[in-house]
Subunit: 341 residues, 2 copies
């Protein structure tokens, strides 16, 4: 305890829970003052900060009607999708992690990483209301940014996610996704990677491939299908109407997605979101990607997929305390209902 | 795949996720029909089902002004705290787990267990508004039910939790807690137990004891303290204003709590909930117990504690997808704010 400790002030830090080994991100420059939490669900008023890109940081990706604009000076007037560094980033680029202790007991390090926002231009429409080619353009942006960041220092995982609606955690209504890079992987995701790896080594087949084939035959949990993708409600869904969208082919690395696959994924994503909107009356939802880490190791055993989670139920004390989720709609029943929409 | 599979219909089942090994509970008899999710946040109207115990299952515990009523025939008119089996249980008592597979691929078993509701009589008051002796009486009920259930078959863990407010997952406004027993422990909690055990074996001291001593000296994350308990915002909080209430003494098994400890715990719980209500303008919250499992094994290394989580922020796509939580208020700042309330 008497050891000398480096005093470093970095605006975002990663702190480790001593018991679980889990990390949390303390993002001070996104902070509200404590008493601002008194009205946490109040809406900000005024102009939308995503409609005029001049209010944002300089874009790192811009496209117009499906065409990526190379080395632009000014953002073209006809931009349709743009990616900007988040003005209030949770993770911040830096050249050192500065792993250190506090009180000889706790562990922390700088929360180093990139935090970007993917903006689709139309303020009024959510993804499911955009044409498939525009959804594909959003996926183009995901891929382009992934490829640009994956080999950077301290980038071992890239999380791409989308929050929609007041109960989703979204603070701005204008349709946008986010990309966050992290140096570390959470124990839960490591556990899922290990599970996938063991299955692959034992069975010489990917578990997702096996499961997808089984589900396509059984049919009861399928929500949507096209040439290259299948959307289904997983057998052990953690939320009612949870839907995953997975390529039929074994694809470990999202960033290697082809043009044809992007079009089919856009179609599947649009279809699933449309069914959720229609069937559940426009609920809040989150969707996120799970893909192989970009940590230089071989993850050929993994199979990337998107998870769509409608926020129609709160995780309560039991679920948070035990991590055993209670669902009240069988995935078979959920899929049957969504298929009909 | 061609194996014969037992067809068993049990109203609640545990289903395993093949990748993570996590289990979920599918509770069919709590089910809404899918289209009822269209208005998930609408309130049920009519008489409160917890005000008149005659509408409930036969109580398994009744007390009146702190006195437990033994072998009552009718519920006494002056009851103050009662425990009843949940009318819509997520887990159901049964004499067999019937572990089985589906499609030669998926694993499931009967979701066997007890699911009870702890009701404090006063409809209008939440726990923090009740006198300390009444909060203690609720804790008496927790302990009595724990002791009654812990040696029953298929009871390896007992989860006690409380949901308050519209964003907490509570479906009934009348103040109540719940008790659920499970046959299995989730990977996350097993991981926490392992972490605590390793620390204990290596350091000949419990990690919670060590941490509590450190925090009491450092002071900055302390929210409340009395003779036997301390409430603090953990160094790696997963939510802003997360507060844990932990005994100062090393106590692995919650069910062994003494009368004096119950009074001090009641005081600490009431104080923390009051501060959260006052400081954050009566938010929804959950609180839950983590204690040593009742699986016949030795868990002397563990240290029970309660976690109070105000629901002032949603877990969004990033947090759900990566399990890396982003907090925007430092635990030091949160504790300082709560101390002042």
């Amino acid at each position: 305890m008497a050891k000398k400790e480096k005093k470093i002030k970095f605006p975002s830090e990663l702190r480790m829970d001593l018991i679980s080994g889990d990390w949390v991100i303390l993002a001070r420059n996104r902070a509200k003052k404590p008493d601002e939490f008194k009205n946490p669900r109040s809406k900000k008023k005024g102009r939308c900060p995503f409609c005029d890109l001049k209010e944002q940081n300089i874009p790192v990706f811009v496209s117009a009607n499906g065409k990526t604009i190379p080395r632009y000076k000014d953002v073209p007037k006809n931009w349709t999708v743009a990616v900007v560094p988040n003005k209030y980033p949770a993770l911040i680029p830096h050249f050192r992690l500065d792993e250190r202790t506090e009180g000889g007991l706790y562990k922390k390090m700088n929360a180093v990483g990139f935090h970007e926002v993917v903006i689709a231009r139309d303020h009024k429409k959510q993804l499911s209301q955009l044409p498939t080619k525009r959804v594909k353009e959003v996926i183009d942006a995901y891929q382009a940014r992934y490829l640009d960041m994956k080999d950077k220092r301290f980038v071992n995982y890239i999380s791409i996610f989308h929050n929609h609606g007041p109960n989703s955690g979204a603070s701005i209504a204008h349709t946008h996704s986010q990309i966050i890079t992290t140096v570390l992987l959470d124990a839960d995701f490591k556990n899922a990677l290990d599970g996938a790896k063991k299955y692959y080594q034992k069975n010489k087949e990917c578990l997702y491939c096996h499961m997808t084939k089984y589900e396509l035959k059984a049919k009861e949990r399928i929500v949507f299908e096209n040439k290259r993708f299948v959307a289904l409600c997983p057998y052990a869904s953690k939320m009612p109407f949870q839907t995953i969208i997975t390529p039929k082919k074994h694809l470990p690395y999202f960033e290697e997605i082809t043009e044809e696959e992007k079009t089919d994924l856009a179609e599947a994503l649009k279809a699933v979101l449309h069914k959720i909107n229609k069937g559940l009356r426009n609920p809040s939802y989150n969707f996120y990607l799970h893909t192989a880490p970009c940590d230089e190791k071989n993850h050929d055993y993994y199979h990337w997929h998107w998870t769509v989670l409608p926020k129609i139920q709160e995780w309560a004390g039991f679920e948070i305390g035990t991590k055993l989720e209670i669902i009240t709609v069988a995935p078979e029943q959920a899929a049957q209902y969504l298929r009909k929409q």
